[in-house]
């Protein structure tokens, strides 16, 4: 069995329909459990109760970057192998990525105000995240602006390649430039100060919840796009007859 079998819309609809209830249940369970557990954690000695924002901010930021990278992979599959389902999966993922980026920006601003004394700073990571958000909006606008779906998939695929620079910058900006208010990675394999297990475990659960939520939503949205494409093809066939 090859992974390319799932590029067949019929096969994709059948297999995604089978796993979707399980993914959706896992998403609901892990997201709610992770956020409730996180909300119940004790205050941090430095940041007080604002530490609870980490259970939203970090998973959302993580997904914002990785959704763009998923779109990059599926766009490349479209550009190289012309599989329609992969182009539709990229299109389906973009609004979810935009929402995740917006959550990271909003929670970051709300968290930054009491901790840094400002809602916003033109810090490398914050700025690259804002640009990533604008790329998401531009990507969605481009899909809507181009009438021919294959041309739209081509153009958005190229835009996705360009935007990947900012997705990677969002991840590694704090490593490239030392200036700026934003701290380094919250979770790291590198030696140094570790996050307490009291916060780390609910954070892992919340991250898993956000990932499963994305997976469930992207499956549903891809199925929606396939149905729309099928309806458009039927209507076009009728008009020709």
């Amino acid at each position: 069995m090859s992974i390319w079998e799932y590029a067949n819309p019929v096969k994709f609809m059948r297999s995604s329909g089978a796993v979707l209830p399980w993914v959706a249940a896992g998403a609901g369970l892990c997201t709610v459990a992770g956020l409730v557990w996180g909300f119940l954690t004790p205050e941090d000695y430095k940041q007080g109760s604002t530490v609870k924002i980490i259970f939203l901010h970090v998973p959302a930021a993580l997904m914002a970057i990785n959704i763009w990278l998923m779109m990059l992979v599926t766009s490349l599959v479209w550009l190289i192998r012309r599989h329609h389902v992969s182009a539709l999966a990229a299109k389906a993922a973009a609004p979810i990525g935009a929402v995740m980026t917006l959550i990271a920006l909003i929670t970051g601003a709300i968290w930054g105000q009491p901790m840094w004394g400002t809602w916003w700073e033109w810090d490398p990571r914050l700025t690259s995240f804002l640009i990533l958000f604008l790329f998401y909006l531009g990507y969605m606008a481009l899909w809507e602006a181009v009438e021919n779906p294959d041309s739209a998939a081509d153009l958005t695929g190229v835009l996705c390649l360009v935007g990947s620079v900012f997705a990677l910058l969002s991840r590694y900006a704090v490593n490239f430039w030392n200036q700026g208010l934003h701290q380094g990675a919250s979770l790291s394999m590198a030696p140094g100060e570790r996050m307490s297990a009291i916060y780390r475990y609910p954070l892992y659960l919340s991250m898993l919840g956000f990932f499963l939520l994305f997976l469930a939503l992207v499956l549903v949205r891809t199925r929606t796009e396939i149905r729309r494409r099928r309806l458009a093809a039927l209507l076009a066939r009728e008009n020709r007859a």
Binding site: S49, K52, V99, T107, R223
Partner: protein
């Protein structure tokens, strides 16, 4: 009772805004999917 201290407004605003966005994208996704399925089924039924 959960004690949020002097940052209660900050924490609740972050959770409120995030949950609103997450519920919003979920509801929009489900409604769009239901609509697309209904339209396709109606068209296929008409044959």
């Amino acid at each position: 009772m959960i004690e949020l201290g002097k940052y209660a407004g900050t924490v609740l605003a972050a959770y409120g805004a995030s949950l609103l966005l997450l519920v919003g994208i979920t509801v929009q996704t489900l409604l769009a999917n239901a609509r697309a399925r209904r339209e396709l089924q109606e068209h296929e039924r008409r044959g």
